[in-house]
Amino acid sequence: MSSSYVGRSGAVAARAIDGQTVILQLATSALFTLNRVGSRIWELADGRTTVDQIARRIHEEFEVEAPVAALDALEFVERLAAQGVLLLSDAPLNPDRHSGGEANATNPR
């Protein structure tokens, strides 16, 4: 799972504001508010970056120990993927296809 590519679902609306990111799932109107670290993971989830690579960036940018960053990043990504907010895939995700990307995504659970 740590080698999976992470992308943002196109079925949400999201805005960064004052260091947080607020995400609204369009189909359910469910709201997600991400803190600074979560917001950074959201930014990095461009469909071409893996969970491992994201964890390394979190380790470097937030001075979190590498094993902790790896565990936290994986848990965070899996949780949002289970909600359909992030997408996980064995192959890079085409940014233009994120809205219909479920066909390419693997469910982490």
Binding site: V22, L24, L26
Partner: protein
């Protein structure tokens, strides 16, 4: 037959009502919100009040039907137990069959206004609104949070916009609140006036009166919970999300912890 133009927030709809008594009821209900300049007219609805609550044919509302709002090829279908409507914005035409009584008509107005407002970055908000010294203050929260209480406690030099639903429209870099005829427990409509919005105040009961700034991310989430969403249409939901984000970027938001007595208004000079 009677024509009635209902103008809320400078967005007017003409209703061609196939029943004189129903038309008179609408005129009485929206007495402070009748007529409009031609430029404000957004469209025309043909209104057919039904002789009974349910007539049994396919185009009549079914009594137990829950609200459904959907869009197909730019045409909105809106139905509930007491009305069934269509709204075609591109043609500026709509039609509704509804049970007698103002409740269904009132709901239809809210829904059509929310659909139209979303196209221009505005929205209807569960909030009481009051103008004081030329500025509008919006007090938002769910039922029981104190919206009506804030309006009841308001001093004499305030003007009521609504104790239930505020009408929010962008105007350049700022936002304007308009009065609405939609009332809650107070049971009286707002005045048909407008003012720039000074702030959004998210209500909390407490022992002492206090204003606490709300971080923007949290404010956006709280605002979204109080915007009237009638449709699960993805484009509409996205438009409302963007509207809420722009609003929070332009208007300060606070938690208003308040004791339910007139002293709370000292925070709003």
């Amino acid at each position: 037959m009677g024509d009635v133009v209902v103008n809320i927030g400078n967005l007017a709809l003409r209703f061609e009502i196939l029943d004189r008594a129903f038309a008179n009821m609408v005129r009485r209900r929206y007495a402070a919100f009748l007529d409009a300049p031609e430029a404000a007219l957004r469209g025309t609805f043909q209104v057919e009040p039904l002789p009974k609550r349910y007539t049994g044919d396919a185009t009549s509302p079914a009594p137990d039907e829950e609200l459904s709002v959907s869009c197909t090829d730019g045409s909105w279908s809106i139905s509930r137990g007491d009305f069934r409507a269509e709204w075609r914005p591109a043609e500026r035409r709509g039609s509704v069959r509804l049970a007698r009584g103002i409740h269904g008509f009132d709901s239809l107005l809210r829904i059509v206004h929310s659909l139209e407002l979303a196209q221009e970055g505005g929205f209807l908000l569960h909030s009481a609104g009051v103008i004081r010294n030329g500025r509008a203050f919006l007090f938002s929260g769910l039922s029981g949070s104190g919206k009506t209480t804030m309006t009841r406690l308001a001093p004499a030099n305030t003007v009521l916009l609504s104790d239930e639903i505020s009408y929010v429209r962008p105007a350049g870099d700022t936002y304007i609140a308009w009065g609405t005829p939609f009332s809650g427990e107070l049971g009286r409509p707002g005045e048909n006036v407008q003012a720039p919005i000074a702030g959004l105040y998210l209500l909390k009961h407490g022992a002492a009166n206090q204003l606490q700034p709300v971080p923007s991310g949290q404010a956006l989430g709280l605002l979204l919970r109080n915007i009237l969403f009638f449709a699960q249409d993805a484009d509409l939901v996205r438009a409302l999300f963007e509207a809420a984000w722009r609003f929070i970027s332009a208007v300060p938001a606070y938690h208003l912890v308040f004791r339910p007595d007139p002293s709370v208004w000292e925070l709003f000079p």
